[in-house]
């Protein structure tokens, strides 16, 4: 696959459509004007304040797996307008618009790849496609991914991002929460590890299903993570939201997350988790015993 060809430099290449035009852009967090090339070289993390910009599926995949090891699964699935949803913006128009925008059929990329020494089932949600909302296709792809991981006795990793359920598919989209969770029940029963990686933003129906069912839940710094959106909560409660509410660091403190890991360290962290949960693969060097603490 073209996007996985070997490169002679170590940074992840950003496709043009992931960024607005121009050589410079403003960090939404620190308002610093950043040279785009500098941002790209830093994995789309603001060199000044550490703000993690959203990245597309290919870039995310490159970040997490060994180069050239990806075999894509279930790319043949596509969404249909089963309810005939019209209204202000018909579903079919929205789908077409997002297919053109991303060059992808829907919000999910699935397959098998090597992560460190491990073969793993990996899923990546792409917020650029309709806010990575979960409809029948996303739900089916996640379910097939987990079912196949169970059959092939693979650990699973899903990089999550989502605005929630895909309203245009009505109750079918809600039921994807049950379907994906059911598949994970079987994967767990087979004693296989599942790591959930939460990226900005992961909310609603995805959050209330496979995103929070990880044996280990990892998040990127600053990611918005929650069930209801902050605006909805403010409206419903008429209360001011606490500082840092629903951000990754807040959720680490409140006990939901196992760890918050900066983008540049993600892969190493995931490899360490898999090493432990899968047992160190044959032939791998034993870890050096930790240096004794200074006496």
């Amino acid at each position: 696959m073209a996007f996985l060809r070997k490169r002679n430099y170590s940074t992840v290449k950003v496709r043009k459509r992931d960024m607005p035009d121009g050589l410079w852009l403003k960090c939404p967090s620190c308002n610093e004007i950043i040279f785009k090339q500098e941002l790209e070289a830093a994995l789309n993390v603001c060199p000044k304040c550490g703000h993690h910009f959203q990245i597309g599926r290919r870039q995310r995949l490159d970040l997490l797996i060994e180069p050239g090891s990806f075999e894509e699964w279930d790319a043949q699935l596509y969404s249909v307008d089963t309810l005939g949803f019209t209204g202000v913006a018909p579903y079919l128009e929205k789908l077409e618009e997002n297919r053109k925008k991303t060059g992808c059929r829907d919000a999910m990329l699935c397959g098998r790849a090597r992560i460190g020494a491990h073969r793993a089932a990996i899923g990546v949600m792409d917020f650029n496609f309709l806010g990575a909302s979960m409809g029948s296709v996303v739900g089916e792809m996640v379910t097939r991914l987990i079912e196949r991981a169970t059959r092939e006795r693979l650990p699973a990793l899903i990089s999550c991002a989502s605005g929630g359920a895909r309203m245009y598919e009505g109750m079918l989209s809600l039921m994807q929460m049950a379907k994906t969770s059911g598949a994970l029940a079987r994967h767990a029963e087979a004693g296989l590890p599942y790591i959930s990686l939460l990226t900005h933003p992961t909310t609603a129906g995805v959050m209330a299903s496979f995103a929070t069912l990880g044996d280990v839940i990892v998040a990127e710094p600053g990611a918005l993570i929650g069930f209801a959106g902050p605006r909805v909560i403010k409206e419903a409660t008429q209360q001011d939201l606490p500082a840092g509410f629903q951000r990754a660091e807040f959720l680490l403190q409140h006990g939901l997350l196992d760890m918050v890991v900066p983008r540049k360290d993600l892969k190493a962290a995931i490899v360490r988790l898999l090493d432990f949960m899968m047992g160190r693969p044959a032939g791998a060097p034993a870890p050096k015993p930790a240096a004794p603490a200074e006496a």
Binding site: M171, A185, A236
Partner: protein, 332 residues
């Protein structure tokens, strides 16, 4: 409590007023108009039947939210003997919007779990308008596991606008509480019958909604988002809720047609609130029938069927051969 009148029930109210006037007149003048009265009563019954047979999706949402609609505790009072409520999630608190406990249904042990709304300001505050916090979902799972331990089937009764979107809900991880329920309900080795008795509000409803049978009352709804919420997002205006309600295909017959529920329980003319006793009898009979069928199913088969039931939900297109991701198929 004064009767609560839905907009489309107004003609019924007008007729009932005329009937009352006629009765008062007959009494005051000592004139026998019993024939007229009977004719009018029949007309009212006919009118109620006709109006309810032609309700639109939004009208049904209003019926599902009717403040005199029977709630979980009303059905338990009518259907069960010796209901023993069990409290608390053993972690944080006792949620009052999701309740549960042991009950007997015609001599059969059942773990009842469900959402409960209030009927007035005071009880609505206690019940948080039927919107549960994480501890409600965690209590529900605790009780389900208890039922599994003693081999008792589980019946969940759902009537909630949704899980509570509050600060504390997020601080105690309501999403995780719901997700764990979804996952673990797939593995509970006892029959589970789910009934949507009023509002089936999104993830908050589904959080106790995985089962072997999913039933829904005729004028209940079950939706991924409230019609108002959908209207606000897709029409940029909450007042389009009626249009959103139609578009979401959230009514009981729509859901049955889509294979998302197994059975629609007919409501009495004028809705469950017009005749709670009749509705309770219908519900009880349906529960007994379904529990009996499920009882005969071996556990392994039960879990396999439960998985396959939800596994089959989803409508999408699929090409025969994997296509390059960059060339989307023409949507059909």
């Amino acid at each position: 409590m004064p009767p609560y009148i839905l907009p489309f029930e107004k003609p019924i109210l007008d007729m009932e007023k005329k009937l009352e006037d006629l009765r008062a007149f007959s009494q005051a003048q000592n004139i026998d108009v019993s024939f007229e009265i009977e004719r009018m009563q029949n007309k009212i019954t006919e009118m109620r039947r006709e109006i309810y047979e032609n309700l639109g999706a939004w009208d049904k949402v209003l019926v599902a939210r009717h403040p005199q609609r029977p709630y979980m505790l009303d059905y338990l009072a009518a259907m069960t003997t010796d209901f023993t409520e069990l409290h608390g999630d053993r972690v944080h608190a006792d949620d009052r919007a999701i309740i549960g406990g042991f009950g007997w249904l015609e001599g059969r042990r059942v773990m009842f779990i469900g959402t409960q709304k209030g009927r007035d300001t005071k009880s609505n505050l206690e019940r948080n308008f039927g919107c549960a916090y994480p501890e409600g979902y965690r209590k529900a799972l605790r009780l389900m596991k208890l039922a599994a331990k003693f081999g008792a089937p589980i019946v969940t009764l759902i009537d909630t606008p949704g899980a509570y979107p509050g600060i504390e809900s997020e601080e105690r991880h309501i999403a995780e509480a719901i997700a764990v329920n979804l996952r673990d309900m797939f593995r509970l080795p006892v029959p589970i019958v789910v009934v949507v008795i009023g509002e089936g509000g999104s993830g908050g409803a589904l959080g106790i909604g995985v089962g072997d049978r999913v039933l829904i009352l005729e004028y209940s709804y079950y939706s991924v988002i409230s019609p108002e919420g959908c209207a606000a997002i897709l029409w940029k205006n909450r007042s389009y809720a009626n249009r959103a309600a139609e578009a979401l295909k959230l009514t009981a017959p729509d859901l049955l047609k889509a294979g998302l529920v197994d059975e629609v329980l007919p409501e009495p003319p004028g809705g469950a609130h017009a005749d709670p006793a009749a509705m309770s009898a219908t519900l009880k009979a349906a529960l007994l029938r379904n529990l009996e069928e499920l009882d005969a199913t071996p556990v392994e088969q039960l879990l396999e069927q439960r998985y396959n039931k939800f596994r089959a939900m989803g409508v999408f297109g699929e090409d025969a051969a994997p296509a390059p991701a960059a060339s989307p198929a023409p949507a059909s």
